[in-house]
Structure formats: C-alpha cells, structure tokens
Symmetry: C2
Subunit: 430 residues, 2 copies
C-alpha cells in the first residue's frame, strides 16, 4: 500500500525514509518513473527524460554514502536550465538537441546534495508567452500556466516532489497555483544563475515548486550552498497582514476573491492584525514598467536568435515582446528601471507596518485554452520589487481546480516568509 | 605609408573610411591580422584565432550593404564570452575545445552592427586570479593585468581597435591602464549578460577597451541595441572634481600619485572646481565586503567544476577565492551584500557635491612577474557601488610604461562620463 504512494511523498519524507533505510533511492526513482509513464501522455510535462539515466543516478546513490540534504530526491529541471547529461532547448526548436557541456550551478548544487535529476520539464518558448506542449493534469483543455509549465504540472501531478523553474514575471507563482503546488520566488539575487538562460536579468530568479514549505526551505538551503542539514522552518507570532487587492482585483474571479477573504478571516481569527493595504498611485503603472524593462532586456538577450533564426521564433513573441523591446529606447528603459528601484524602496517602507502581504496568486483557476498560459498580473508587482513570495495551495474554484493565495514579505525575509506561510497553512489543517 | 598604420586606426576612423570607400573591411582585417602575426609570439593575447574566418567575415561585409555603426571594425572577445563559430574555454583547460551553440548577446549585437569578430582574447582562469599566457606588449617580464588580459594587450599593442572584456573587481580598468588603453566599466546592469560566464552576478559587467572615448561610446551604443548612428560624445562645462585618494593611496607608487596630482592641477587650471574627497569610514572595509560577496557567488557558480574537475582548478583559486566563498555563510554574504547596497545610496549622495571623482586606475605601472595580474584595489570600491568608470591613458611611469587615471561618475551617468573624460583628455592635447 505504501509503495503505491511513494510518488506522492514530500522530499523531506523521502530523505528521512532513505536515512532510516525504509526506502532506497532506486525505489523512489522507480515510483516516480512509473507515475510518469502512466500520466505523461495526458500531461506532457517533460521535454526530455531518460529512465535508464534516472535509475543509474539512483543506484549510484544507493551504493554510496549518504550524500546530503536531498539524498535520493527526484527533481525536475526547467528546460531553460543547462544539464551536462541531458539536452537543453530553451523551449524552442532553434535549440533542439542542444547539449550543454556543464550543469547549471543550481543543478550541480542539487546533485551535490544527492538530488536525482529526473529530466527536463517543458518551458514555454524562451520562458515567455508561447506555450509548450504541457496540459493541465486535471483537465487537458486547460493551460498548466507558464512559463514553468512542466515543472508545475510534474509536481502537481505527483511525478516528482521537487522542480526548479524560473520567474521573470509570474512564471513560477502562477503555474504552481494552477497546479495545486507550493511555489516560491526568492528574494532577487539570492540564487546564482550560471547556466540559466537570461530572460531579463533585472527580474530573473529561479523559482522552486514543491509539495510542502519544508521541502522548499530544504531545496533553498541546498541551492545557497548549504552543506549541513537545513534548519527547520521556524514558527512565528500571528503577523500583521496587509490584504493587497491591487489594481488587478476586478480581473479576478469570485472564487479567488473569496479565497483571499477566507484566508484573511482565518488569519484574523487566529490573532493576526489584518488590514487592507492600498499601494500608492506610484504602483499603478508597475505592470507596464515591468514589461518595458523586461522586454528591453529580453530582446537584446535574444539578439543571436533574432539575427539567425527569425522565422523559427513564434509570431506572438516576434510581434509582442521582441518588437516592443526593440522599439524601446535606452532612455525609456532606464527611466522604467529607475521607477522599479524607487518602488522597491517604497515597498521597504510599507513593510514597516506589515509583516506580510496577502494577495491573489492568479486571477482564477487555470483558464481553458492551450494557446496562452494565463495572467501574470498578480505577480508582476512583487517580481519588479524583488520581494520573495510564496503561493499556498489552500483553496479551490470551478471544477475543484486549485486556487492559491500568495504571501509576500520584504526583501531578504525569505526565512520569515517560510515561517508565516507555515503558520497560515496551519490555520487550514483540521 | 597609410597602409602601414591601418592597424592603429580607431574604430570610428575605420568606419568612416569604409563609408567613404577609402578602405575595405578586408584591408582592415588583413592589417590587423598582419600585426597579430608579427606580434603574437611576444604577446600571446589570443586564445583562439582563425585568420581565414576573419577574412571571410570581412569579405562578406565588403560584398553586402553597409551594416551598421561598427561596419568593418575588428573586435576581440574575451574568452569567457560565448561565440558560435569559435571555441570558448573560460580560461581553463576544463573547458578546452568547448564550442558554444550560439553567440553571447554582446557578440551578436557587435556582429549586427558590422563588427568582425577576430578571435577570443586570453582570460585568466574563470576571469579570476590565475593568469593566462599573455605578456605585457612592452615588456614580456610584466603582467598585462587581468582578468581581461588578452583584450587589453591586443588593443594596447595595435592588434584590434576594440575588445570586449568583463569586470567583477578591476578586470577591465586595471589591464586597460597597464596597456595604455581607454577602459570603460559601465553602470552595472546596462549590458545584457546572456552567454557571458557569471563570475559574481552582483558585480559582473562587460568592460570595453579601445583607443578613444568616441570608440567606446560607439561600441556601447551598439551593445545597448542602438540601430541608428551613435550620438557624438557631448562636451561639458568644467566639472566639480572630487580627488579621491582612497584608503589604498599609500600602496600606489610615486608616478601614480604624481599623475593624479598633475591631472587635478590641469583640471583646476581649466576651470574645474577641484577638492579632496574623503569617503566616510563606512567605505573602509569595502574591499573585504566586495570580496565576501563575490567569493560567495563565485564559489556557487563554479559548483559543477568543483564537483567534477577539482584537480584541474589552479591551487590559488581553490585555496583562496573558492575556499573563502565556500566557507562564507549565507547570512554573512547577505550582510555584505546589504553593506554594498547602503554604500551605493551613500555614494549617490556624494555625487550631489561632485560631478566626477578622480582616482588612480591601479597602484602603478604593470608589475613585473607573470604569476599574478596586479592589484584591483582602486577598482573594487566603484565596482561594488555599480558606478561607471573610465581609465584614461594620459601618463607614464617607470620605463615609459603607461599609467592611467580613473574617472568615476554617478550611476546612470555614463554619457556624462564620456563627456567629462573627453574634456579631461582635451587638457592634455597640445
């Protein structure tokens, strides 16, 4: 019976059971591979997977000493992140079959701690708008979100307990929410980006997707280069909560609004000081500002592909982001970048009065249609401001599809973000 | 007679003469190649060069329409920057023969504007301490500086008019100064880093090395994605100059001190308001702070090489930077990073009273010995503070070896940096 559920275990549980010799890395790997075989045709989460290579990694771990905090944990890697033993295609046929000559830093650090790289998860084209092949695990007519589409679908569907994605706008928080996962976007700058395709360096971070907050804290510890055991997620006092509906509130559906209200009520009932937070008018244009900065950077980062493979770039990417980016003059870009810097300092001040911001993760459940990946609006503010955030899979909407709520803390307060996320989840455990 | 000097032309002059049909791209390329053939055994500036490929690029330009602001200009590319048609080895035998599958953004943008990629210039190991094979063009017993060793030596020795380097501490300013070149470190964040090896993302920028300020302004324009002609370098009023001797003043030799004093005097004589600038005590530990941040990031970025090729890493890199970085805990790193952020804001305030800072580029002329690349102290402050800076090749010291003076302006004032650099050089023209 237990064996049937191994693929649903958290990373923390897997490591514990391997340490206790109740499980082997190979057994875990086979459980995940079985789940993938069973479900992949319906989900299409993987850009590349070589089961024999997965088994070999697991067997090597079983034959060696205990390696580290992720010993035996299967991990999915977004396909814009380089791997030395698997092709990396950045979500585009332009780079089909491309084999990097080394692992990205985050992949090497994951392996150093004993993680098993299961395969490459589907990314949208260059981690941008144009979707890959992945379908929502609960409804193939719906998007799994993007751009970390395969990473979120794989974790959500029980294929792997951990996956690395990235976020430049809302590319981790949104798909994690759609797929009923925990999704974490770190303080900008904490994780090294060697071997990760740059979309827009001013905003790019890795994003972690998992089944528990503890697992995210564990993986973060490893990616920061931690060698000893990860510290347990701390507990915290009832926080001062700012409920931030944002200028995008009217875009969100009934279930999302009601999730935020329910969460706020539960927090207040447990002693949190919950008040409404309205950001200053300076934040009104942040989505446009964010897009200006990221399009400018993105279009220059794709100079080689633009000049050598223009026809192989999707029409939507060419006519939107790349065109807008190319048309943006440096002075406009610099002004927009400065606006983001000013807002970061302003948000630092907001956090004098609040410990955490509660806000939607997305406007609703995963939308129908596979030609787009849903709205990133509820992430763009926080991404532009470099703050850490976490989506918690606490609610559901139409057709029992998942709805996340997003918690945001000030920059550099990632440990506290985990604590307050854990406190919040505790309110909903029976 | 003219033909003998083509290899010493500025980029601006080359483009103009090609437009005026006084020169062909092929003629320019051959002139540079001839200079390289003649001098390379003594200088060893190039990690990779394929003369036939250079000629083919030039001929293609001559046969096509006028391509852009760098039409026909030979450019050297530091070997930590990816090129689709030449190997990229990051200064280490670990990556010997590695062939990237695309151009870095800066390479693609240079080609888009008509630049000819001549070859890969020698980098120290992973753009760090351990030197490559390059020798100082004026004295083979001396270092050319590093880490952009080959880029600076190639421009300084008349092999190419432009080269791209990088700077994480003092890797462009120092070698440019040693080799009698103009060297420019941009405001952090302006140039995209796709395809450039990350050393320490919090400080990494490209660095441009050239024979004139105009050439640097031209190349910058291209790397920002500019398609029309570059604007001419502006003129400026006599500036308010802060002479910043820094805590490293006592490390600098007589010729360097006297270069700074002479430059300050010349500026004052021409109407500049020149005063001494002493930074607050908060800046005293900036070198250590910079090293803490960059070592933490560098060591995590090299996770794959550490875990797979440890024995092929130089002893000095393993026992210094990588060891220090590995030993640095995340909390220490974050504190150091925050210190840099605070100093940036403090330096913004300093620039309310000054238009430009005058400070040494290095403690002296290129030192004797090929087992090290000289001191980066006079760059670490400005690199940590994200300000743009330029070294001007206006002076000389022992054995007529070049001495640069460094100008620094506030962040985002790169255009003004060019103007005030040009004004300063004007004072020394007869």
């Amino acid at each position: 019976m237990l064996e049937d559920r191994i693929h649903t275990f958290t990373a923390t549980k897997i490591v514990q059971q391997i340490r206790d010799q109740k499980l082997s890395a190979e057994k875990v790997a086979r459980a995940c591979l079985n789940r993938i075989f069973e479900r992949e045709s319906a989900v299409q989460a993987w850009q590349y997977i070589d089961p024999a290579l997965v088994i070999r990694q697991a067997q090597a771990l079983d034959q060696g000493p205990f390696k580290g905090a992720l010993h035996g944990v299967p991990v999915g890697i977004k396909d814009i992140i380089d791997t030395v033993d698997m092709p990396t295609t950045y979500g585009t046929q332009i780079h089909a079959g491309h084999q990097p000559n080394k692992d990205a830093a985050c992949v090497a650090l994951t392996r150093r701690a004993g993680g098993i790289i299961v395969g490459k998860t589907v990314s949208t084209e260059f981690a941008n708008q144009h979707p890959g092949k992945t379908m929502h695990p609960m409804d193939p007519s719906r998007t799994p979100g993007g751009s970390s589409s395969g990473s979120a679908a794989a974790v959500g569907d029980g294929m792997v307990p951990l996956a690395i994605g990235t976020q430049t706008t809302g590319s981790t928080i949104r798909p994690a929410a759609y797929n009923g996962c925990f999704g974490y976007r770190p303080t900008w700058g904490d994780f090294r980006m060697t071997g990760v395709m740059e979309a827009a360096g001013s905003f790019d971070t890795l994003g972690l997707i998992a089944r528990s907050i503890e697992d995210i804290a564990l993986h973060r510890h490893v990616l920061l280069g931690g060698t000893s055991e990860a510290q347990a997620v701390s507990s915290c006092q009832p926080p001062r909560v700012g409920v931030c509906r944002t200028q995008f509130w009217d875009k969100s559906d009934h279930a999302t609004k009601s999730a935020i209200e329910s969460c706020a009520q539960a927090m207040a009932k447990s002693g949190a000081m919950v008040t409404d937070l309205k950001l200053s008018a300076d934040f009104d244009s942040i989505e446009q500002t964010h897009q200006r900065v990221s399009s400018f950077e993105f279009s220059r980062n794709r100079a080689w592909e633009l000049d050598n493979h223009f026809d192989e770039i999707s029409q939507i990417l060419r006519e939107n982001r790349l065109k807008h980016g190319a048309e943006c003059r440096f002075e406009q870009y610099r002004k927009a970048r400065k606006h983001c810097e000013d807002l970061r300092l302003q948000l630092d001040d907001v956090f004098r009065d609040f410990d955490v911001i509660l806000t939607p993760s997305a406007p609703g459940v995963a939308p129908i249609g596979l030609n787009a990946t849903g709205s990133y609006s509820f992430s763009s503010i926080w991404t532009a401001c470099h703050t850490p955030s976490m989506t918690l899979p606490l609610f559901s909407g139409d057709n029992a599809l998942p709805i996340g709520v997003q918690l945001v803390t000030k920059r550099d307060a990632d440990d506290y973000l985990f604590a307050v996320s854990s406190w919040t989840c505790g309110l909903f455990e029976r």
